[in-house]
């Protein structure tokens, strides 16, 4: 059975990829993900803005009490702290991971300004990353920023980075554009070799013990797969760029659903956290069983089967789908 797939020009053994997340923060974690069967690994995101802020903060922490007391003119050895050395940790992880595992390593970058994006992308490429995933994550809350500006910023970044590096560049984008599909296509035009759908926004909870907001991420749930699948299905036949489904993968059924919608690969962190790093293998096994059961012999036969056809009376059908969904819901739950 042929489970191979192409993602960002990379030949992958199968479509289950470990997405950017806490499991890939260490070499041991990366090794476990590869061992567990992931066909590619996106490393955790390097936040360039945060990195700069941390450098400034660390320098300030060193300065704050220096030269103030005769016995202790400083409190730390004089190791140079620079953004370069702060990123060193990440670049070193890329290098070590590339050496340690056979599957492609994709660097995930989150930048604040153009300079930062380009510089770190180059460094990540030099460190041996097979591709770069741009995690363009603009924190919601700036009510003054126009939608137009947000889109423009995305395009600028993608264009600058893909010009700067020779390895493929993908974009992990937000589902909250007023026209997601159009933005996605513009990003491909700007140089993106692939689209990862979608980024999840921070939804802070409230901790009633500490009386603070709790910024901790909740793992995604299977329901969250519906939105990305809808957009993947819509885009599949409008672009040749790679499409990755992210969010809401819990079982091999979810993997199948993504593939049917048109995804080239399916990414998950939540399932691997919940079930262990070797769960990739089980997801692939489930996919295989399903294909056997259904009589498919290659992924090509599955991929995009339920994607929206290229020439399509789209709105009518989509509207029709919506109406039937309402009707089904009525049948199940009573009048809405």
């Amino acid at each position: 059975m042929d489970l191979t797939t192409r993602y960002l020009g990379l030949e992958l053994e199968h479509p289950v990829v470990a997405s950017a997340g806490p499991l890939s923060q260490t070499l041991a974690g990366v090794e476990a993900l590869a061992e567990g069967g992931a066909s590619a690994i996106v490393l955790y995101s390097l936040f360039e803005e945060q990195l700069r802020a941390e450098v400034a903060r660390d320098e300030q922490l060193i300065e704050v009490q220096s030269n103030a007391f005769a016995e202790a003119l400083d409190y730390f050895p004089t190791a140079p702290i620079t953004t370069k050395s702060a990123a060193y940790s990440y670049l070193s992880l890329i290098e070590r991971s590339v050496k340690a595992v056979d599957v492609p390593i994709i660097a995930s970058l989150n930048g604040a300004d153009l300079g930062g994006w380009v510089e770190f992308s180059r460094e990540a490429a030099d460190a041996g990353a097979s591709a770069i995933e741009l995690n363009i994550y603009l924190v919601p809350g700036d009510v003054m920023m126009t939608g137009d500006l947000v889109e423009k910023r995305h395009l600028e970044i993608v264009s600058a980075v893909s010009d700067a590096v020779s390895i493929p560049v993908s974009v992990k984008l937000s589902p909250y554009f007023s026209s997601v599909g159009n933005v996605a296509l513009q990003l491909v035009d700007a140089g993106a070799a692939g689209l990862v759908m979608f980024n999840r926004f921070l939804n802070p909870d409230v901790d009633i013990e500490t009386l603070n907001t709790d910024a901790e991420f909740e793992l995604s749930t299977p329901q969250e797969g519906r939105l990305p699948r809808t957009w993947i299905a819509s885009l599949r036949n409008h672009t040749t760029a790679s499409l990755a489904g992210s969010s809401g993968v819990e079982s091999s059924d979810d993997v199948v659903k993504y593939l049917l919608s048109g995804a080239d690969v399916v990414m998950t962190t939540a399932a691997l956290i919940r079930h262990g790093r070797s769960y990739s293998r089980e997801l692939v096994g489930g996919l295989q069983s399903w294909m056997v059961r259904k009589g498919f012999v290659s992924l090509g036969q599955v991929r995009g089967m339920l994607a929206v056809p290229p020439v399509w009376e789209g709105e009518t059908v989509r509207r029709g789908g919506y109406v039937s969904a309402i009707q089904a819901a009525k049948a199940r739950y009573g009048a809405l």
Partner: protein, 1197 residues
């Protein structure tokens, strides 16, 4: 990263410590180290260089090993030397004293090594970190050769000379230079290259050293026990080796001169060859004498100075040869004190050398030799003082023994001398800057020295003076620049430029004491230029006029803020210095500053560089010259250092120290035995913060958390009847008491505004969030408004009665807020994690506590003059506090306990014996039967003992007097042994273990910052794995010691691990249980610290993370429970809910490793997590055991 031994830039500006360490590291294979001020920097550099892979000149990367004490360092060094390794160490003061036993051994075995010592005072009546020769003189008998350097250059050069000489002679060397004066002075020097060092120290000498090592290939024994028949002769075998040392050192110096062109000798005479008066002296002061001698000889005198460089073996021949026959009067100056001796050591040595020479006919006549002391504890030694000594020598009958530099009105030893004598080259630019610690002034000045000192043909010197507080301390920078090498080891007295970087400084001290005619004065002021002069204190105005000073001003804070740099005024003020001091043409100077900005901030990005450069331009634009009028125009005086109602000692003595005029205090003003009055911080209102805590009485729920955690005791709570509000000032804050049972009662949380450091811990801990307030709490930080109002309110608050201890619920944090703190307003770092525990101790037990305090942060903020924080209550009772040493604190505290037990027993026996005479069985029985467990018992006992003393005062006879002398011991005394982890885990570990094993009723409080905080962040055995610290530059690779489990193993030790920020209630419980337990108790208190690299305002959050990540699980082990058949092990914290990584990521000490060794950091955090899990599992298992599964207290059986 690997630095191979590279040729350093030959001309550098570094301090004496680095100068010495640079050579020591490059010529040795092993550095055995332990931190002690002022030598720590040498060890720190060695550790850093080794961690970076730097090699010595022979291609070997030296091993740097931190030991548990200097005794340990000397032991390891001795072993390494016997193993054949080229080994060295760096130390000072008490550290050197701890090495003495090994020094005898090393010398007795004729072993080549060099110890590098930043010479420092010895703790006697008080500790001092500053420089003199007391430590060096205390080892002159060990058999080490002593070689003294007088400058930064010499500290570098003699490190090499000593190394060569020790290898050639086999006699070990101690190379010393003056602590702080040389060790911390920045000066221009010519470095020795690796090639120079290789040329100087031939490898065959190293191989000879190795060949003498112990080896099973050619076994022998060394270190035998010897008997009366041979010990004496054996001791004499070494004489020929010592006889050769002066020649070998001379030879080494000659060889050095050939190589470098810098010529030295064992002793050097400078001055008139026919001098009639000569001073003999060692160390940096020789440079001062040389300057004064040149000046005097230029004015028709015939004087000279004999500088002694090799002190042991004493170079008699060289001294006799160098001292002119013409000298009829000689003053030998010792920078040490030997009470009871016929004279100080150098004086005695010189005298005996001369006497023998005359007696044997080698010298025609014996000059009159007098001996003097100078410069103890870095006391200034100036050219004027030298003149005073020569003037004394000129008298027909000079004083045989004298002191200079002080006013000794008790023994009348001190000489008069001219106030100031300017002997410096007029080409030397001299500048003095006043700053506040951590404001960047010193850092900017160090940068200025580098900018100017690296210019062709310019020499630079920098010396920095700090006051005794860790927060808001005043710094004074002394900078010199000139076309010739600068040899002036004393403070600037006549500055061409004076920068006053904070307005508050000129209100408190005379900033123009260093001014001269025409000095350029820059004042950073929040006032417009046309108002500036009028706002200056009148005295300052008068001096400005009198000296025709050029006055400039800038509102640097406003400029910095506008440039987006917050409160960092250093770039702005540094620019002003360059713009108006004329050290360089203005445009050139400004460009230099900008280049320096690009070098420093380039890595932070173009935006930061641009911001700083904009600040430079803005500084120039906002700098204004102020016209100095012809007459003063102000009636404003300086702020009085202490209030008029302060006690006499504080008014007469402490206040002088606060004015920076302590040098003027005569001997008679000071206590004879180091005993000082308690509680003097209350008189020093430092006003160090522009933002302070402000209480919102409407929102407050009166929980007491803020007062509990306040590190500076500036939040005080009282409840009181509403009638007490009569006459309250209009702005006095009050609320209804939020407690049942006291209707109509009022509550006030008073902020001691002038003492608040603005640390923000109170805000962090406040549980209230005021709705719709944008995050406001019931206590908030706000800019200081009216200090007068605050003073009035505090005055009123103090008229309200302190709450009765017997009516306060000690069992709750809410209740503790009403207990009076007897530890207040210390100079600890703002937001200190240690001091809240000490304050709590003082609140709970202060009235009957005796405290033994190990040397460290707590002994410094607890006992560093001028003002100290341990205070007393309205009955005059309070903690009695003392610091013995670093290493012996547990033993010292045990001694206090033993004495208290003895005297309590004596008192009880005498009381029983005097029952009839006292005639009141109720009183006697009441005292003897009171077990004093509760506050009500204690107050009853207090009253009864007072009554007993009254009765005894009316009785006669020795028994009554005897009982009277120990009657206070009838109050249950609470003995506390307090110190940091450096003491408890390392240097005092053996003693602490023994004291815990003694079964005696002592309470040990370890303020555990997991690092040597006081000396600047060196690793201790409490330092967690993966943390970067000095001496663990590559990240600590071993786990911290579980001291709690060690103590628990005894079975009869009460043990608690606490963290106030995670669970204040558990903290409180632990203190009370520990104190109540009749046996040894150990409390390990997590103390967040500046050395962790955290935002100190978030220290309590970090404590919470430490506990809830499992890094610092809270527990108690209470043997009382074991005795009751219950499980004594109580696990007080919940199962970890955060990964260890979450705790690590918040602290720079862990983050640093991620940026230098990510792989190592990763490995360590993973391994650390495993250890956390394992330990947690162990603890959980212990918390489920039965009583019988724990060791029993022998007293039970």
């Amino acid at each position: 990263m690997t630095d191979t031994a590279t040729k350093p830039e030959l001309r550098q500006i570094i301090d004496g410590n680095e100068a010495a360490a640079s050579v020591a590291f490059r010529l040795n294979e092993l550095c055995s180290i332990y931190p002690i001020t002022p030598s720590s920097t040498m060890a720190e550099l060695a550790d850093e260089w080794a961690a970076r892979g730097r090699t010595n000149v022979f291609g070997v990367r030296p091993t740097v090993i931190e030991m548990q004490s200097e005794g340990g360092a000397a032991g390891a060094l001795h072993g390494a030397l016997q193993g054949g390794a080229m080994s060295t160490t760096f130390t000072a003061s008490q550290g050197l004293l701890l090495m003495i036993p090994n020094m005898y051994k090393i010398a007795g075995e004729l072993t080549s090594t060099v110890f590098h010592v930043a010479a420092r005072s010895i703790a006697a009546q008080g500790l001092s970190i500053f420089g003199d020769h007391q430590d060096v003189m205390a080892v002159r008998q060990t058999g080490f050769a002593l070689l003294g350097s007088a400058s930064v250059q010499e500290a570098h050069d003699f490190a090499a000379v000593a190394q060569l000489a020790t290898l050639r002679s086999r006699v070990p060397f101690l190379h010393f230079f003056d602590g702080f004066r040389t060790s911390h002075e920045l000066n221009t020097l010519d470095m020795l290259s690796d090639d120079d060092l290789r040329a100087l120290v031939p490898e065959e000498l190293i191989r000879e050293h190795r060949s003498r090592a112990l080896s099973p290939e050619h076994p022998y024994i060394r270190g035998t026990a010897q008997n009366p028949d041979t010990y004496f002769q054996s001791r004499e075998t070494v004489n020929p080796f010592y006889d050769k040392v002066p020649g070998i050192v001379t030879e080494a110096m000659d060889q050095f001169a050939e190589l470098t062109g810098r010529r030295y000798d064992l002793v050097e005479y400078h001055g008139d060859p026919e001098a009639d008066r000569v001073i003999v002296i060692m160390g940096s002061a020789a440079q001062t004498v040389i300057q004064a001698v040149d000046h005097l000889n230029g004015h028709g005198n015939k004087v000279g100075v004999l500088q002694v460089r090799l002190y042991r073996p004493f170079p008699v021949e060289a001294i006799l040869a160098a001292l002119p026959e013409s000298a009829t009067k000689v003053a030998v100056m010792d920078r040490t004190k030997e009470p009871g001796a016929g004279g100080e050591p150098l004086f005695l040595d010189v005298t005996s050398a001369l006497a023998e020479a005359v007696a044997s006919g080698r010298r025609a006549s014996l000059p009159r030799v007098i001996g003097g002391r100078y410069g103890l504890s870095s006391k200034e030694f100036t050219p004027g003082m030298v003149v005073g000594v020569f003037d004394e020598l000129a008298k027909p009958s000079p004083r045989p023994r004298f002191t200079v530099g002080i006013n000794d009105d008790v023994s009348m030893t001190s000489l008069d001398y001219p106030g100031w004598l300017d002997v410096e080259s007029p080409e030397t630019v001299r500048a003095v800057f006043y700053g506040i610690g951590s404001d960047g002034t010193v850092g900017a000045n160090k940068n200025t020295i580098k900018i100017l000192g690296h210019r062709e043909g310019t020499y630079a010197q920098g010396y920095f003076v700090y006051d005794s507080k860790k927060s808001g301390s005043r710094t004074v920078s002394h900078l010199r620049f000139g076309p010739k090498p600068i040899t002036a080891p004393y403070l600037i007295n006549a500055a061409g430029f004076i920068g006053v970087h904070h307005w508050s400084i000129l209100e408190r001290v005379d900033v123009l004491r260093y001014a001269r005619e025409g000095t350029v004065v820059l004042v950073n002021a929040p006032y417009p230029p046309d108002e500036l002069f009028g706002r200056l204190p009148r005295g300052m105005q008068e001096r400005l006029i009198e000296l025709n000073c050029e006055l400039w001003t800038i509102d640097a804070n406003a400029v910095a803020r506008a440039a987006g740099m917050g409160n960092r005024t250093n770039t702005v003020l540094q620019t002003c210095f360059f713009a108006i001091s004329k050290v360089l043409p203005r445009d050139d100077a400004i460009e230099q500053v900008k280049q320096s900005i690009r070098d420093t901030y380039g890595r932070r990005g173009a935006e930061v560089v641009a911001k700083n450069e904009a600040a430079v331009d803005a500084a120039v634009a906002h700098l204004h010259r102020v016209e100095v009028p012809e007459a003063p125009a102000s009636e404003v005086g300086m702020i009085a250092p202490v209030p008029a109602h302060a006690p006499e000692f504080v008014r007469d003595v402490t206040s002088v120290m606060l004015l920076d005029q302590g040098d003027s205090l005569p001997v008679s003003a000071l206590p004879v035995d180091g005993t000082y009055p308690s509680g003097t911080t209350q008189y020093e209102k430092r006003n160090i913060s522009d933002i302070i805590a402000v209480w919102d009485e409407d929102a407050c729920i009166q929980c007491g958390n803020c007062a509990f955690v306040c590190p500076h005791s500036v939040l005080r709570a009282k409840y009181y009847p509403d009638t007490a509000l009569e006459g309250a000032p209009a702005t006095f804050q009050s609320a209804d008491l939020n407690a049942a049972g006291l209707p109509g009662a009022k509550y006030t949380l008073q902020v001691y505004a002038e003492d608040c450091t603005g640390c923000g811990l109170c805000v962090e801990v406040c549980p209230v969030k005021v709705t719709d307030s944008g995050g406001r709490k019931a206590i908030n930080l706000a800019p200081v408004l009216e200090r007068d109002d605050a003073r009035e309110n505090i005055g009123f608050f103090e008229t309200i009665a302190v709450n009765n201890r017997a009516r306060v619920d000690f069992g709750t944090v809410r209740g503790v807020q009403y207990l009076e703190p007897l530890f207040e307003f210390s100079g600890a770092c703002s937001g200190c994690g240690e001091t809240p525990y000490l304050k709590l101790l003082s609140q709970l037990f202060g009235g009957r506590a005796t405290i033994a305090n190990a040397t460290g942060c707590s002994s410094i903020y607890g006992g560093n003059l001028p003002t100290t924080p341990w205070s007393s209550n309205r009955y005059g009772r309070g903690p009695a506090w003392s610091n013995s040493l670093f290493e012996d604190n547990a033993e010292f505290g045990l001694g206090l306990r033993l004495a208290a037990d003895l005297h309590e027993r004596l008192a009880r026996e005498r009381l029983e014996q005097m029952r009839a005479e006292i005639g009141d069985d109720g009183l006697v029985d009441g005292i003897l039967d009171n077990d004093q467990l509760y506050e009500s018992d204690l107050s009853a006992q207090f009253r009864a003992v007072e009554e007993l003393k009254f009765v005894l005062d009316g009785l006669e006879g020795p028994r009554a007097a005897d009982l009277r002398s120990v009657a206070d011991h009838l109050m249950r005394r609470s003995v506390w042994i307090v110190g940091g982890d450096g003491w408890a885990y390392d240097i005092g570990s053996g003693g602490l273990d023994h004291v815990l094993a003694s079964g005696r009723n002592v309470n040990v409080l370890v303020l555990d910052t997991e690092v040597y905080s006081n000396t600047g962040g060196q690793a201790s055995k409490a330092t967690p794995m993966g943390a970067v610290a000095k001496f663990a530059s590559g990240g600590k690779e071993t786990l911290s010691k579980d001291l709690a489990m060690q103590a628990i193993a005894y079975g009869n030790v009460y043990v608690a691990r606490i963290a106030m920020g995670a669970d204040p209630q558990q903290t409180l419980k632990a203190f009370r249980e520990a104190e109540a337990y009749d046996g040894p108790s150990l409390i390990l208190a997590y103390s967040h610290c500046i050395a962790h690299g955290i935002d100190m305002a978030k220290g309590l959050d970090q404590q919470y993370l430490a506990v809830n990540s499992g890094h610092w699980p809270l527990m108690r082990f209470n043997p009382v429970l074991r005795m009751q058949g219950r499980n004594p092990f109580l696990l007080d914290s919940p199962r970890p809910r955060f990964p260890l990584r979450a705790y690590h990521d918040n602290e720079l000490r862990f983050r640093m490793l991620k940026s230098t060794d990510p792989e190592g950091a990763e490995r360590m955090v993973e391994y650390g997590q495993m250890q956390v899990n394992r330990r947690w599992a162990d603890y959980e298992q212990m918390s489920n055991r039965t009583a019988a599964e724990f060791a029993a207290d022998a007293k039970e059986s």
